[in-house]
């Protein structure tokens, strides 16, 4: 048997494509990203080593500060929106007494399968100041909220975050629903016999037992928020001004608009470290809660 499983030729054929592709297309660019963040580089020549200059410049850059702040706002907004709504909806749909559960499931999940371009442009037409659905609706109801939704320096980041949260809420909903379904029914019956109300039963049974799922949801939405790019690229182009820049957007515009590749990479390196820290912190925090239970 060993003869078959130690077949050198077969091993090479099986392993080489994956390893090579990963090395060339993912790992090599990753190392380049860190290395070149210490260079002044326009993407063409080999560039000039300048030590920490890119990073020093980064911390003085007001656009960088805006980008960090927006990443945090975006993360916080989508995390709270998605996970709180997804929790309530998943618990509701898991209840067999609710009628039309399949309809609700499909309704909540459908935006997830749409392309982000379609979603962003759909919401651009909803938020359109002249003809958009939202302003027309306010007009119809004689309410005074009609406005140009994406041209306010302070509000537009929330508007964009809402669009992202709207699209991916269903993803968290499906994750939690799958988690709830895997919890044995006896747990709830036991809680009910002990006289717990439905809300109490879910708080004492569902939430603690789903801590692994919540950890996954949290990592996904927090790092997804820090990485945000496409939503602002399509909906505002980072504007008005630079008010909806994020780290990825900053990297994109330094590299492909200002041709400062090295500077863009220092923003990217910062982003990777930020995501890593967020993941570690979430792992720690959620693990600790599980012990208390």
């Amino acid at each position: 048997m060993k003869r078959y499983f130690a077949n050198k030729k077969a091993i090479a054929v099986f392993v080489a494509p994956a390893l090579l592709l990963f090395l060339i297309m993912v790992f090599y660019p990753l190392t380049q990203m860190f290395v070149k963040s210490f260079y002044a580089w326009n993407g063409l020549s080999t560039g000039k080593f300048i030590g920490l200059d890119n990073y020093i410049r980064l911390f003085d850059d007001t656009v960088f500060q805006t980008s960090i702040k927006n990443g945090l706002i975006f993360s916080l907004f989508i995390t709270v929106f998605q996970i709180s709504i997804a929790t309530v909806l998943a618990i509701a749909v898991s209840n067999i007494k609710i009628k039309g559960r399949n309809f609700f499931r499909i309704a909540y999940f459908l935006p997830v399968v749409l392309s982000i371009t379609v979603v962003c442009q759909l919401w651009l037409s909803v938020f359109n100041s002249e003809y958009g659905m939202l302003n027309r609706l306010f007009e119809l109801l004689h309410m005074d909220y009609a406005q140009d939704w994406l041209s306010d320096r302070h509000k537009s980041i929330y508007v964009i975050a809402f669009v992202n949260a709207w699209q991916y809420m269903g993803y968290h909903f499906a994750l939690l629903l799958a988690g709830i379904k895997s919890i044995p029914k006896d747990y709830y019956e036991a809680a009910q016999i002990d006289g717990a109300s439905t809300v109490e039963a879910h708080r004492k049974v569902t939430l603690p037992l789903l801590s692994e799922t919540y950890k996954f949801c949290l990592i996904l939405s927090v790092t997804g928020g820090l990485n945000a790019f496409t939503n602002m690229y399509i909906m505002t182009g980072g504007g008005p001004g630079t008010s909806t820049y994020t780290l990825t957007y900053m990297m994109y515009s330094s590299a492909f608009r200002a041709y400062e590749y090295g500077y863009g990479m220092s923003a990217a390196a910062f982003l990777v470290i930020e995501c890593l820290i967020a993941t570690l912190v979430i792992n720690k925090l959620v693990a600790r809660e599980r012990i208390t239970y």
């Binding site: 099986f14 994956a18 070149k36 909806l89 371009t117 690229y233 990217a268």
Partner: protein
């Protein structure tokens, strides 16, 4: 309340309290928030500008303007983008599945030095945000003269998907009894025959799950396509449909039609196979 629940009802009488009604209204309200914008888009893809902007912005189209769809297909390059998306998605799916299957088989079943290191190394891919390596990737693709053909997208998409799908296959492979292969070897089959005739068929459920997952990823991917594709003839749908970029569009009918066409494959896939799609999309949560 239905009859089956009488035992629970005896212990805890539950009526349609105000709280309950409010709760149900909440469920409907969010369903509306989730669905109505999409339906609204479907409606305006079938309306005239006069209806969209003036007379009937919210409701059902008064007469179906299929001409919007004809215009989307003839004037906005939608068939070309659609075709590109199909090629790129199918290419990515087949390459990802094949490469990951082989890799996870070699790392889980076969014996060689460094097999654990190789597996862990490739699984790093799951923790690297795609966005962070866009610049070096763009430079690399340019230097390799890979620009402007279908492989420009298929290779990076595959490279990014290998980590996740290898991990999923690895998990499934460990649950297949080794006796299956032993029997095949005793019958005189070689390792490649055994792999394709015994292992691959046994992994069908995992393969179909990953086909759905990878397809959706590739069909909807945006940032890599944005950075790597400059030739209009190679743009995939997410890139080709950027109506609001550059020029301001007033042709909402055709824009809506183009977006409906672009969403059609994934929405139909989801409606018909909703359980499988949800399972595929959330498999990451089950594995962690």
């Amino acid at each position: 309340m239905t009859m089956q629940n009488t035992t629970l009802q005896l212990r805890k009488p539950r009526k349609n309290t105000t709280g309950n009604i409010l709760f149900k209204m909440g469920l409907w309200l969010y369903a509306m928030i989730s669905l109505y914008p999409i339906i609204w888009m479907l409606f305006y893809s079938l309306k005239t500008n006069e209806e969209i902007f003036v007379s009937n912005p919210f409701g059902f189209p008064t007469s179906f303007q299929w001409v919007n769809y004809a215009r989307a297909l003839s004037e906005y390059n939608v068939p070309k983008y659609f075709f590109n998306s199909v090629i790129v998605s199918l290419g990515t799916v087949s390459l990802t599945i094949l490469i990951s299957l082989m890799f996870s088989y070699a790392t889980s079943r076969m014996h060689w030095r460094g097999q654990h290191f190789a597996r862990l190394f490739v699984s790093l891919g799951m923790f690297i945000p795609v966005q962070s390596i866009l610049i070096p990737l763009a430079v690399l693709v340019k230097n390799l003269h890979l620009s402007n053909n279908y492989l420009t997208l298929i290779l990076p998409y595959t490279a990014f998907n290998i980590a996740f799908s290898s991990m999923v296959f690895y998990g499934f492979l460990r649950s297949i009894p080794i006796e299956l292969e032993e029997a095949a070897f005793l019958d005189g089959a070689g390792i490649f025959t055994t792999f394709f005739k015994i292992i691959v068929p046994n992994l069908k459920p995992a393969i179909s799950t990953l086909i759905i997952f990878t397809f959706l990823q590739a069909w909807n991917e945006f940032p890599i396509a944005l950075i790597l594709i400059t030739d209009n003839a190679l743009k995939t749908l997410p890139l080709g449909l950027l109506f609001f970029q550059g020029q301001f569009t007033t042709d909402w009918g055709a824009m809506g039609a183009a977006m409906i066409i672009a969403s059609f494959p994934t929405v139909v896939l989801y409606i018909f196979f909703s359980n499988q799609v949800e399972k595929a999309m959330t498999i990451g949560g089950a594995i962690k």
